[in-house]
């Protein structure tokens, strides 16, 4: 890249940073304009983490290939009893076993 292109990239990164910060403060700004939180909105807010995080999990399970899906199933059962570090280790071991140890 020449220096003009490089400066261009720096501007893109800065714009992305501003856009990200707006998402991080936007909900707060919107909600503090309201006097109190209606119960339905409270229920909606309580559902936010599970709803968002599911969208980062389910497509990977369906479209990520069967080796990824198998490791996620194992990690799921590990996660019912143990912390997420054990989930990561178990899932990683499964996918490595499938890919490198010739398990089919």
């Amino acid at each position: 890249m020449d220096s003009a292109q490089h400066l261009h990239l720096i501007y893109i990164i800065l714009a992305a940073a501003v856009a990200t910060f707006l998402t991080r403060i936007g909900g707060y700004v919107m909600i503090t304009q309201m006097k109190r939180i209606p119960p339905r909105m409270e229920a909606a807010l309580n559902a936010v983490p599970a709803a968002v995080l599911s969208t980062l999990v389910a497509p990977a399970f369906v479209y990520g290939g069967w080796d990824v899906a198998a490791s996620m199933v194992v990690a799921f059962f590990v996660g019912l009893r143990f912390s997420s570090l054990w989930m990561l280790l178990a899932g990683w071991l499964v996918v490595m076993a499938i890919r490198h140890a010739g398990i089919l």
Partner: protein, 238 residues
């Protein structure tokens, strides 16, 4: 007291740092692959500080996509933060304006999840606890980005060393962590199905926003748990 809170946060954030580190290194390596310098990669990690959107950003940049579309995609991937910050407002009323600025700048998924869990347990949310939790993730994120960018060639194919499964499994663990909440199963089921369908018919990164909004809308429409509900009659059903 501030010091105790800070170090309690650091200890709490440590496992997150460990599991996020491979992604920092992976981001650094992929960024260099897509035409970034080491400085650019660290600059993006330090200013954007949102792993999944950083991955999307470098991917699009590598394909010479128009800048407005890159910024819009980063915005879309991070759109969930609007919901986080709305939900966080209840817990950080006592923070000063400057503290709120840093609180929101550092608001990544595990930081939000841990703050909510802490509030649910009835433990105080102090700025110093929050900052400690954030710094043990933020600073190593920069370091790992730099190392990944420098040694990018060594990582080679991330699939070959199984790095690609870590992110979905990590998020799966976070989903499981919320399983005691009201309507958890229907929300997870509906968000999952909607995101799978959106991935197929609309494409990434919109599956995130579409799936999330569907699950949240469902939660808002379900019977409220704390108040006795009116008996449902056939006429009320749609």
């Amino acid at each position: 007291m501030k010091k105790d809170d800070f170090w309690q946060g650091v200890r709490g954030g440590f496992p997150v740092m460990v599991s996020a580190s491979p992604f920092g290194a992976l981001f650094g390596a992929l960024a260099v692959d897509n035409g970034f310098s080491v400085f650019d990669a660290v600059f993006m990690s330090a200013t954007v500080y949102a792993g999944a959107s950083q991955m999307v950003g470098i991917e699009l940049f590598g394909h010479n996509v128009q800048p407005w579309l890159i910024v819009l995609s980063v915005f879309a991937v991070n759109f969930r933060h609007i919901l986080y910050s709305a939900s966080m407002a209840r817990h950080i009323r006592h923070f000063s304006a400057v503290q709120k600025f840093f609180t929101f700048f550092l608001l990544v998924d595990p930081q939000y999840a841990e703050t909510e869990k802490r509030a649910e347990r009835g433990e105080p949310i102090t700025f110093w606890w929050y900052l400690g939790f954030a710094m043990i993730i933020y600073l190593p994120w920069q370091l790992m980005t730099m190392l990944g960018a420098i040694f990018g060639q060594l990582i080679g194919d991330p699939r070959a060393i199984g790095l690609d499964v870590l992110l979905p499994i990590y998020f799966l663990g976070l989903v499981l962590g919320f399983r005691k909440r009201d309507h958890w199963l229907p929300v997870v089921a509906v968000s999952s199905l909607a995101s799978i369908a959106a991935m197929h018919f609309v494409g990434s990164p919109w599956h995130v926003s579409i799936g999330a909004v569907t699950g949240i809308a469902l939660a808002a429409c379900m019977p409220l748990p704390d108040q006795p509900e009116e008996p449902v009659t056939l006429e009320n059903e749609v």
